[in-house]
Amino acid sequence: MSTEFWIAQAFNGISYGALLFLLASGLSLIFGVMRIVNLAHGSYFMLGGYVGLTVALRTTSFTLACLAGAVAIALVGMGMERFFLRRLRGEVLGQVLMTIGFALIFQDLALLIWGGDPYTVPIPKLLSGTVRAAGAVFPIYRIFIVAVAFVVGVALWLALDRTRAGAMIRAAVDDAEMAGGVGINVPLISLGVFALGAALAALGGVIGGGFLGVYPGADFEVLPYAFVVVIVGGLGSLPGAVAGSLLVGLLDNFGKALFPELSYFTLFAPMAIILAIRPTGLFGRF
């Protein structure tokens, strides 16, 4: 195994981790505020990819595709939160069945609308091609994914840490009841966080659609990855989502490259070890 192999695999792992961060940070935030395990989160990823695909094909604008995917799925998420999930606060089983019900409906609707063929979201010329550095070849598009995840991560951190709305979200994460008691509009915060989480997953879906493709079944394929990220990182924690995404991205890539038959084992076994040592994940507090 040459140095190039290690560099290339590490980079692939990091860029996949960057994509996972877009998906998992939203899942983690939603859980933090609402204590909801959203099994439809993978569906947001897939639906975002499909909406982005349609817009990209109609308008030939990648930016517009990302925007349209994020906005459309944010609206879907808000509808789910407002009319279905809000009434199930604290009912874990109800939430699971409700969100899986939506996931199945979304899956079938997507099959009905977009058919069963796999597609790739067309990416702008500017982002195609590769660069050479340190003897290895890096696709520009994957560098772009890392950059997007970095910008989103920093923006999320600034928003959560430095703004009034962010302080309100953190208060709601720590103790929703007390936050409501001091006059924070927790239902509105929940709605906003759900919209944000759905939009981030959809953005991940459009961007991921540029190199993984959009296809039926993508929803349930990415869902366990997002779950492992938040389990490893700790539910409701932004630094946890960063660390978890990178770890899962790298483990998955090296696992697939080095032990193809046991690749899921190489992903889940470290998760089990981390849990055995820290049951709430690396950065979790609950």
Partner: protein, 306 residues
């Protein structure tokens, strides 16, 4: 409990009487419902009686099914050997997973069981030299029991009916035993049971392992029934569908889970005749159950909320 047990025993007897006169298709569906019903009841042991919503229950089912599929197609192992090894392997899997999962509560338990379930799915999918990967293992022969061939639909149905009845009686005895009462106490309040001197962890762990054993039993029957085992039997959707069956029937009732399983099996097969949009309808069922029948069929029949 007494009246419900009587009704269930009556239903088993009625099924046994009408079975030979049923056309092939409904009989096949009934057989399927019985097997899936065992799986649902095993999950009820966790969800309804111990308050642990497992999202990876298909894993033990799958281990049992794959064990039978591999042993019958590669080694021609007989029924008893397959049952014993299948159930043991499923129990072992549950014993290992339980060590990790029982540490967590609530949402964490849910997510860890989901991820552990995915491990088994991943192995079924990727460990091609053992499981044939995505293609699955086909050609599992129907078993022979004490020289009796269970190849045709009717004898195999009786075999499954007896199996389901035995599983139901065993689990029923389990939940009314002191151990089962301890579990219900834990579901109500873990800290209270701890203070009363119960070993809460051991109770939950034992429930987890036993539940896995029964799920593995259902899996062994499934391999024989279907003649084919694939990663689909182990996937997340199977685990969640089992959860739906328990919720639909009414958690903490055992026989309700069997009813829920029967309803879903028949609904799926009848709907599939008329439309390809089964998932759309199933999704609607999930949402409808939560909105309109949160205590399940048995709960609704009782006419009071728990």
């Amino acid at each position: 409990m007494g009246r419900r047990a009587l009704l269930a025993a009556g239903a088993i007897a009625a099924l046994a009487v009408v079975a030979p006169f049923l056309p092939a298709y409904p009989l096949t569906l009934l057989t399927q419902a019985l097997i899936v019903g065992i799986l649902a009841m095993s999950l009820d042991l966790l969800l309804g009686y111990s308050g642990m919503p497992s999202l990876g229950h298909a894993a033990y089912f799958g281990v049992g099914a794959y064990a039978v599929a591999i042993m019958t197609t590669e080694r021609q192992v007989g029924l008893i050997g397959c049952l014993v090894v299948g159930i043991l392997l499923a129990t072992l899997t549950a014993a290992i997973f339980g060590l990790l999962a029982i540490r967590a509560a609530g949402t964490y338990f849910l997510m860890i069981t989901l991820a552990l379930g995915m491990v088994v799915w991943g192995l079924a999918f990727r460990w091609v030299s053992l499981t044939k990967g995505d293609n699955g293992i086909s050609g599992v022969p129907r078993p022979t029991l004490l020289g009796l061939e269970l190849i045709t639909a009717v004898p195999f149905f009786y075999f499954c009916l007896v199996s389901a009845a035995v599983a139901w009686v065993l689990m029923g005895l389990l939940v009314v035993s002191p151990f089962g009462l301890g579990l219900r106490g834990i579901r109500g309040s873990e800290s209270r049971m701890q203070a009363l001197g119960y070993n809460v962890w051991l109770h939950k762990y034992m429930a987890f392992v036993l539940s896995g054993a029964f799920a593995g039993f259902a899996g062994t029957l499934w391999a024989y029934y279907n003649g084919f085992v694939s990663p689909n039997d182990v996937q997340l959707v199977t685990s969640v569908e089992t959860l739906l069956m328990v919720a639909l029937g009414g958690p903490g009732t055992l026989i309700g889970s069997m009813l829920g399983a029967g309803l879903i099996v028949f609904l799926r097969n009848f709907v599939s005749v008329y439309t390809k949009r089964w998932l759309l309808i199933l999704g609607g069922v999930y949402i409808g159950v939560i909105l309109f029948a949160p205590t399940g069929i048995v709960g609704a029949l009782r006419g009071r909320r728990r």
